[in-house]
């Protein structure tokens, strides 16, 4: 088993406010990892540090090599990030946005070549966004936008896909669509996926490995059944839930009722 990411003792602080303390974790190539945790537990910061966008204290190795050895250009061919927020102030078409994922593959002055166009085309096809290609990004709905962002990430032909709450603003159907797409990318293409997630039930359903962050530390790391226990949830989220198994007997399901508090 080769490791895609290996990090040791990652810490990060905004001047006086510490966000992450001593995080050590490794992700194997082809793994699918969900990162859970309450708001402000450091999920987004962790993703940024892992991908080298944010500097932090500690050690990160990609395929055994220190992250500092990579330039931005080569990092962008290893990692693709689907950010939580994607505000675009300029009128770009979907095709233009997706082609931006190819920036590291051609010079800053040149036009995109045939290969770039083919890859962009295939990524849009895969994310069911090809029919949007000539529309403006700011005209799209939340679900469509999210698919375009994933298409751009795929156009980078990354080894590791990082997503920051990919289903945050989506309705149930689009949430499921996105997760099914991730599952497919993982099993068919062997893409390593690390996603910060909000919905614990969906996380348990789609991600074989979950990590719960609490106040900048790893609280639990393991399979959904190991991680999502009534005790852990109460410790981390400070609410009481009831956990049952679904029909397969493996995937935990959370039930939240206000009266469980007492």
């Amino acid at each position: 088993m080769t490791l895609a990411i290996e990090c040791r003792k990652l810490s990060f602080a905004y001047r006086d406010r510490a966000v992450l303390f001593g995080i050590s974790l490794s992700v194997a190539r082809g793994e699918m990892v969900g990162i859970l945790g309450p708001n402000g537990s450091g999920k987004t910061t962790l993703l940024k540090i892992l991908s080298g966008i944010q500097g932090g204290r500690g050690e990160i190795k990609l395929s055994g090599k220190d992250i500092a050895c990579y330039g931005r250009r080569s990092l962008s061919k290893i990692f693709a990030i689907v950010p939580q927020e994607n505000r675009v102030n300029f009128p770009y078409t979907v095709a233009e946005i997706v082609l931006m994922g190819r920036a590291s593959y051609h010079s800053a002055f040149a036009l995109e070549g045939k290969e770039d166009l083919d890859v962009a085309h295939a990524s849009m096809e895969l994310t069911d966004s090809l029919f949007l290609s000539d529309r403006y990004l700011h005209e799209l709905s939340g679900g469509e936008k999210q698919r375009v962002m994933i298409a751009r990430a795929l156009a980078q032909q990354p080894e590791i896909l990082l997503l920051d709450e990919p289903s945050a603003f989506l309705d149930l159907k689009h949430q499921i669509q996105i997760f099914e797409l991730l599952l497919r990318l993982n099993s068919e293409r062997g893409l390593t996926i690390v996603a910060a997630l909000h919905d614990l039930n969906l996380a348990a359903l789609f991600f074989p490995r979950l990590i719960i962050l609490d106040k900048g530390k790893i609280h639990r790391d393991g399979s959904p059944a190991d991680v999502l226990t009534e005790r852990t949830i109460e410790e981390v989220y400070d609410i009481r839930v009831r956990i049952e198994r679904d029909l397969s007997g493996e995937t935990p399901r959370l039930f939240i009722s206000p009266w469980l508090k007492q």
């Binding site: 905004y14 001047r15 940024k48 991908s51 966008i53 500097g55 330039g71 931005r72 250009r73 990092l75 962008s76 061919k77 990692f79 693709a80 990030i81 950010p83 994607n86 505000r87 675009v88 102030n89 300029f90 009128p91 770009y92 078409t93 095709a95 233009e96 082609l99 931006m100 994922g101 920036a103 590291s104 051609h106 010079s107 800053a108 002055f109 036009l111 995109e112 166009l117 962009a120 085309h121 849009m124 090809l130 290609s133 000539d134 700011h138 005209e139 980078q156």
Partner: protein, 345 residues
């Protein structure tokens, strides 16, 4: 899937280049004094007043207008990209103020600091553009430092501190203007108001050199400029060395703004309006947007200056009045339309 291809690049730039050439010829022929073209062409090599007006007075002025219009528009495009804000312009970043202050200090302390070219045969080149460039660069760096938190550039702060810095600089300039002697103050005021009044070919050539260098430098960053409009972090993760890019944008645009301010002061609205219009017409891809805006800015200022020359002939209006007169209402219209479109979503 429609994407930017070579055909569109050549087509758009070709049409604009042709329009620019026509404008240069047209604006040169157009003026308060009628020029007999036949007379000029028949006696090209002998002294005659018509040729004198055409080639000594009008043509250098028109060429200067093209350079400055193009430079303003190109700077507008890149500063808007840098700030991720389509309503940014050189005036807002404190760059123009810094350039003016630099130029003024140059004028006060080194008034005779002229470099004769070819023993003075080709005229003299002033150090003022260089001083203005340094002023522009220094103010940009300063404003930048004040907008950097946790290693990230915050466009909102950049915009705000730029505006504040510009008014601060304005007061410094007023102060300097009141302590120098009367003769110097007159010179400073004249310089500050700026105009496209006729200059020697050598000056025009130097301004062109500054502007072309800056422009080509920025144009070569086309795709990176596209990415930086999406925000610093997104650009980073798509492979842009953002800090290096920001620095290059600062230096290149300061170079251009310094050169422009040193001859013509800040001519408003070109840097705001032209990029906006061109974005609507040719799209937001900077590989095309930048050259198209440069050419369109050249065309626009060329005609605006012609209007300024002939409207109240023989008196002359500052060209800034013309650009603001057309630019202001137009800009309000754009703003209104954009607001309506956003609210309709």
């Amino acid at each position: 899937m429609k994407v930017l291809d070579r055909r569109k690049m050549i087509w758009v730039n070709g049409v604009l280049l042709a329009l620019l050439a026509l404008s240069v010829v047209g604006c040169t022929l157009f003026g308060p004094v009628h020029v007999d073209l036949a007379n000029v062409l028949n006696n090209l090599f002998s002294a005659n007043p018509d040729a004198e007006i055409l080639f000594r007075a009008r043509l250098p002025r028109v060429l200067l207008g093209v350079a400055i219009g193009g430079g303003m528009a190109a700077c507008g495009v890149v500063l808007q990209a840098l700030l991720g804000n389509p309503l940014a312009c050189p005036q807002m970043l404190g760059v123009s103020g810094g350039a003016s202050l630099g130029g003024i200090l140059g004028l006060i302390f080194f008034p005779y600091w002229l470099v004769p070219i070819g023993g003075g045969v080709f005229g003299e080149v002033s150090w003022v553009p260089l001083a203005a460039f340094l002023g522009a660069l220094m103010s940009m760096v300063l404003v930048y430092r004040f907008s950097l938190f946790h290693g990230r550039l915050h466009p909102y702060h950049l915009l705000l501190s730029g505006v504040i810095f510009n008014s601060f600089i304005a007061s410094v300039i007023m102060f300097l203007n009141s302590i120098v002697d009367f003769y110097q103050a007159q010179g400073l005021l004249f310089w500050l108001m700026g105009s496209l009044s006729t200059r020697a070919y050598m000056t025009v050539a130097f301004i062109w050199a500054y502007i072309i260098c800056g422009f080509l430098w920025l144009w070569a960053k086309g795709v990176s400029l596209n990415l930086i409009t999406l925000g610093e972090e997104t650009a980073m993760q798509l492979g842009v060395e953002t800090k290096a890019l920001q620095r290059q944008i600062f230096v290149a645009s300061s170079l251009m703004i310094g050169a422009m301010v040193s001859v013509s002061g800040m001519i408003g609205f070109v840097g705001l309006m032209i990029p906006h219009v061109m974005r609507l017409m040719v799209g937001s891809d900077h590989r095309l947007l930048l050259p198209a805006s440069f050419l369109a800015g050249g065309i626009f200022l060329c005609w605006a200056d012609t209007v300024a020359r002939v409207l109240l002939a023989p008196a002359e209006l500052p060209v800034g009045i013309i650009t603001a007169f057309f630019g202001g209402p137009f800009f309000l219209f754009l703003l209104y339309r954009e607001g309506r479109r956003k609210l309709a979503l």
